[in-house]
């Protein structure tokens, strides 16, 4: 079993998330048996018998649907693959995901396909942006601070009146960004604009098995669909992505049960 690379899952707020994380871990053990799978969860689920499938279970997480932002900084691995718990691994290429992060870079993400996105706050004809459901990151002091700030920024935004700050007025649409942890992430990564105080230019990132940001129509990454096999969201189109069903490695199944929770505070 490796100790330098591993999968990090987070399950809080709803029991089905926890069950889904157990099922995801079960699939990872089948397709990536040499990589550890750890879980961050609430104390009440730490001793669940089904947790035997994890290599390590950490408690202490709050009952928040965004607890992942808090857990990411505590990874024990040099290179971590974070996966949303409503995913299932279905391909033996799973261990290769860790090669998807280039040397000298801090993070790697897959692109959101706007035709299957729940919400869009950027000009989808001009830009493709990272999907928060899966990522690779390299542990370092600056990455720990980045993940820490993601959690802090998310909470700060949540606590503002109308969950909004005047500095975003006219730059981002209000309703589309409300309730989404990816909004502070995008500000920190500078994917739409780079004039926000949260922007962290010290963090170097690229697309999983792809090139550097940004992803605009005139870059090769614009139509490169292969990164989607590592984070295949229900609703993606195989023909459009040029990815067959047999090539999908991590399949996200975010069902209505979970979507209703993603929209906490938005409705």
């Amino acid at each position: 079993m490796r100790t330098d690379e591993g999968f990090l899952l987070v399950a809080t707020n709803l029991k089905p998330y926890h069950t889904a994380a157990q099922m995801l871990a079960d699939s990872l053990k089948e397709f990536a048996p040499n990589h550890p799978v750890i879980l961050f969860t609430e104390d009440k689920w730490v001793n669940d018998p089904g947790n035997y499938i994890f290599d390590k279970v950490y408690g202490g997480m709050p009952s928040s649907n965004r607890a992942k932002l808090l857990a990411l900084k505590d990874t024990p691995f040099d290179i971590t693959c974070y996966l949303d718990s409503d995913m299932v691994c279905i391909h033996s290429d799973a261990p290769l995901i860790f090669k998807g992060l280039k040397d000298g870079y801090d993070m790697a993400w897959t692109k959101i396909r706007t035709y299957a996105a729940a919400m869009v706050w950027w000009d989808k004809s001009k830009l493709k942006v990272p999907h928060g459901g899966m990522c690779l990151y390299r542990k370092s002091d600056k990455m720990i601070s980045f993940m820490d700030e993601w959690w802090e920024n998310w909470n700060w935004k949540r606590n503002q009146t109308w969950e909004w700050d005047e500095r975003w007025t006219g730059k981002y649409p209000y309703w589309e960004t409300r309730g989404w942890d990816q909004f502070p992430l995008h500000l920190m990564m500078g994917v739409v604009r780079q004039d926000d105080p949260w922007y962290r230019p010290d963090i170097k990132w690229h697309w999983v098995y792809g090139g550097d940001p940004p992803c605009v129509p005139d870059t090769p990454d614009w139509d490169e669909g292969k990164d989607s096999r590592w984070n295949w969201i229900i609703g993606y189109n195989n023909d459009r992505e040029g990815v067959s069903k047999d090539e999908i490695v991590f399949h996200d199944y975010s069902c209505l049960l979970f979507k209703s929770q993603y929209q906490n505070g938005r409705i």
């Binding site: 029991k15 089948e30 001793n47 089904g50 409503d86 229900i234 929770q261």
Partner: protein
Amino acid sequence: MVDTTEVAAEEQWTHDTMIEGLWRSAEKKEISILYEREDKSRYSGQALEDSREWKDFFHKFTIEEIDAFTDTHRGQREARGPRPNQEQEIRKREDKQSGERKKAADELETLFRAKLEAFEIPEVRDSENRELRSRIRKSKSLTEISAVVSALMALSIIRVTLKADNLLDEEPESEKVVSGTIEEVANEVPKDED
């Protein structure tokens, strides 16, 4: 008749500039709004009666103006004449494909949910039979899930029987945590975060 006396003036929120709006139906219960971004690019969105977007739109425009927008667009559409058949066929085909993809996605969601329910059954959750658990994950139908779950439960009953007859040598089971089931959660009203 649309009531425009209620406006959303008291709440501070923002969106791109609203350029114009069209009635989406004769009942005048929904409008399509044309927005313009800071960079002058445009896109459209929908607003149902009494939504915040609806109230904000009527804070800026009157019913007469939206009537006029709608009439103008109808006139322009009629002046253009019917679209060529080819365009209609393409749209119909795309709608059909989109519907098929939606149906396939719905079926996948249903299957995923059934698999979660299966993994919440103690005999499945606690089982270390990797092969049968794997078969549940890979099941292509609800019937297949049920069949594999039944097999796991049968094995569990056999195990309990053997244990009662002192034919099974193993450690006593640890205390299980009782948690809410997927059905309980499905019936819950979504709550806000702590």
